[in-house]
Symmetry: C2
Subunit: 394 residues, 2 copies
Amino acid sequence: MLQKDLPFSQTEFDRRLELTRMAMEDAGIDLLFVTDPSNQNWLTAYDGWSFYVHQGVMVPMEGDPIWWGRRMDSFGARRTCWMAEEQILGYGDHFVQSTERHPMQDLAGRIYALGLGSVRIGVEMENYYYSAKAHEVLTEMLPDATFVDATALVNWQRLIKSEEEIAFIRKAAKISEKVVQTAIDKAEPGLKKNELVAEIMKAGIAGVDDIWGDYPAIVPLTPSGLDATAAHLTWNGDEMRKNEATFFELSGCYRRYHAPLCRTVYLGKPPKEVLNAEKAQLEGIEAGLAAARAGNRACDIANAFIGVLQKHGIHREGRCGYPIGLSYPPDWGERTASIRSEDETVLEPGMVFHFMPALWLETWGLETTETILIKETGEAETLCDMPRKLFVKD
Amino acid sequence: MLQKDLPFSQTEFDRRLELTRMAMEDAGIDLLFVTDPSNQNWLTAYDGWSFYVHQGVMVPMEGDPIWWGRRMDSFGARRTCWMAEEQILGYGDHFVQSTERHPMQDLAGRIYALGLGSVRIGVEMENYYYSAKAHEVLTEMLPDATFVDATALVNWQRLIKSEEEIAFIRKAAKISEKVVQTAIDKAEPGLKKNELVAEIMKAGIAGVDDIWGDYPAIVPLTPSGLDATAAHLTWNGDEMRKNEATFFELSGCYRRYHAPLCRTVYLGKPPKEVLNAEKAQLEGIEAGLAAARAGNRACDIANAFIGVLQKHGIHREGRCGYPIGLSYPPDWGERTASIRSEDETVLEPGMVFHFMPALWLETWGLETTETILIKETGEAETLCDMPRKLFVKD
């Protein structure tokens, strides 16, 4: 008998399976095939850096979920999934990145063998790990099945977090505080950016006390000056310079759960326009937080924030946040609701968002963000404890 | 005029474009749409952690490539791509992770506007960043176009490295030596695995002298004991223990180029079966390296290695390696040739492989690998300088 270190209680996994099956029933799906690694983990606890080959979890309407992947990784599945060994299926290595064969040929055979070759099968059409080719092969191999787009079907079930999950996000938040503090403390003119990132990564993986650090789904983003006008540039070996703003877009991670936290450091004396933008941003965040309460909608947060910016003469378009929690690369957002003007998702207690009211302006950028938990009553709780301001090191 | 820090000469980018267009012509493709971030970077130098939203590079048969992505990221494209600003196209944020719109609607409009709405369009059907949904929307929006599967078309052009690229891989190899040495030096009973990984990551990003460390496309894999029978488990907060083998699957990275290097550490006195396996593995690696020469085939390396193992009574299936170089998460392999018994790709000077003759056995695993460069004459050069053995710390 293998010793397993499951992250959550069986009650929690049962809850997730039940929610998923209710959504399957609503969508008229008999068999769900989940390829999003976060959804796989959420349903089965499977954890490993193996999502670069085809793998997934099958959820029939009855019985336990079935993990399917490369045979080499089935050993990891046996060690990390809550299901019994019989629910773990591995395909041979001759399917891996072959120019002649495709793993979906193996999956199709498994689905036939389960007697599910002609049912309604839900697949995640919009996912990094379900390629156009995978869909083509699977549909060709199962001509009697009906395919239904089940993109984000499981992701939507993840939107409201359980107490067990919130406890994990709180642990991630402790690490987030540490990594952002490390970045602020170390930043100084002349420090090479990669050396700063090296310290940030070390702090995050070392974790806090017995909260060990897992890898965040996005690498540290730490652009300075003009580079900070582009949201997603990574670092290089250039030195930090006086009279530049650098934003830190970072998250701690505990057992795949995240709590992103961004702050900006200015080395030198910030010009007036930066200070004005900071003032507008902080006031906007206050307004957004005040709107972040159960019963309001996601757009109410965005509109409250954008309204304050407009009052200060700052034009801001784009999303101002997204739900977060469990994730794998390349994104730590959950890809369901968005904090933006057109999103009418009603906020409920237990939802967790990265409220991301960043400003990317013509010649510099300013990121000050919070991971927030929607409460039963009152405004949202910010899960990280970190002064909300532009950090000036003169 | 933006200052750019391009990684390679214009001659190098011209070479790549020419190779790509020759392959397009062979495949009867008029317009290639490249979504693999590594291929995007190889063709245009675009670099940023933005591949989690839809983006790509269009290569028509004439004129410069066109970068297309989220408007927010077009600023990063202007700063990192070698092409002029007019070749950078951005789509609005209302397309991002929307439940109503898809970015491929925007792309289709761009292709129409280029007068290419009814040509033969190559798309990378088997790629993490070209979803089943993306293909569905793009083909629906361009009913007069003919779609051709161009999976790995660009990847195959990357197989033989230029001198400029080999210089980058040599720099990555210097970092690989440092990270593996760090892992070997720090490993000891009682050390928490996440603390070890924290040191490994710091060493890799800090780099060596002026060789700054970029993020590798795979996180450090460092499983011990039974966990090492599963190839792709990541770390946790458990302490390292006496009488266990831990393998380190690591790579340095310099400007997205990799040179993976794996070694195994045994804390204590290794049992005879481990030492026997080590002996077989090392002898097998020697045989594989001797076969790794221009004119031989990829399978010759695999068969030489597997032949030695068989002589020692060890059964080994699966791939023994893959080409490496430029890469983004989630995989550092190039997904073209494989070092395996059925692959008859002829080896040519300038090819670089991660020769990965790992052993994953019933109760432990042993990884000792090399990044190798195929030379004009003689056997392959191992690019990292690191004793090839099981490291025993008793």
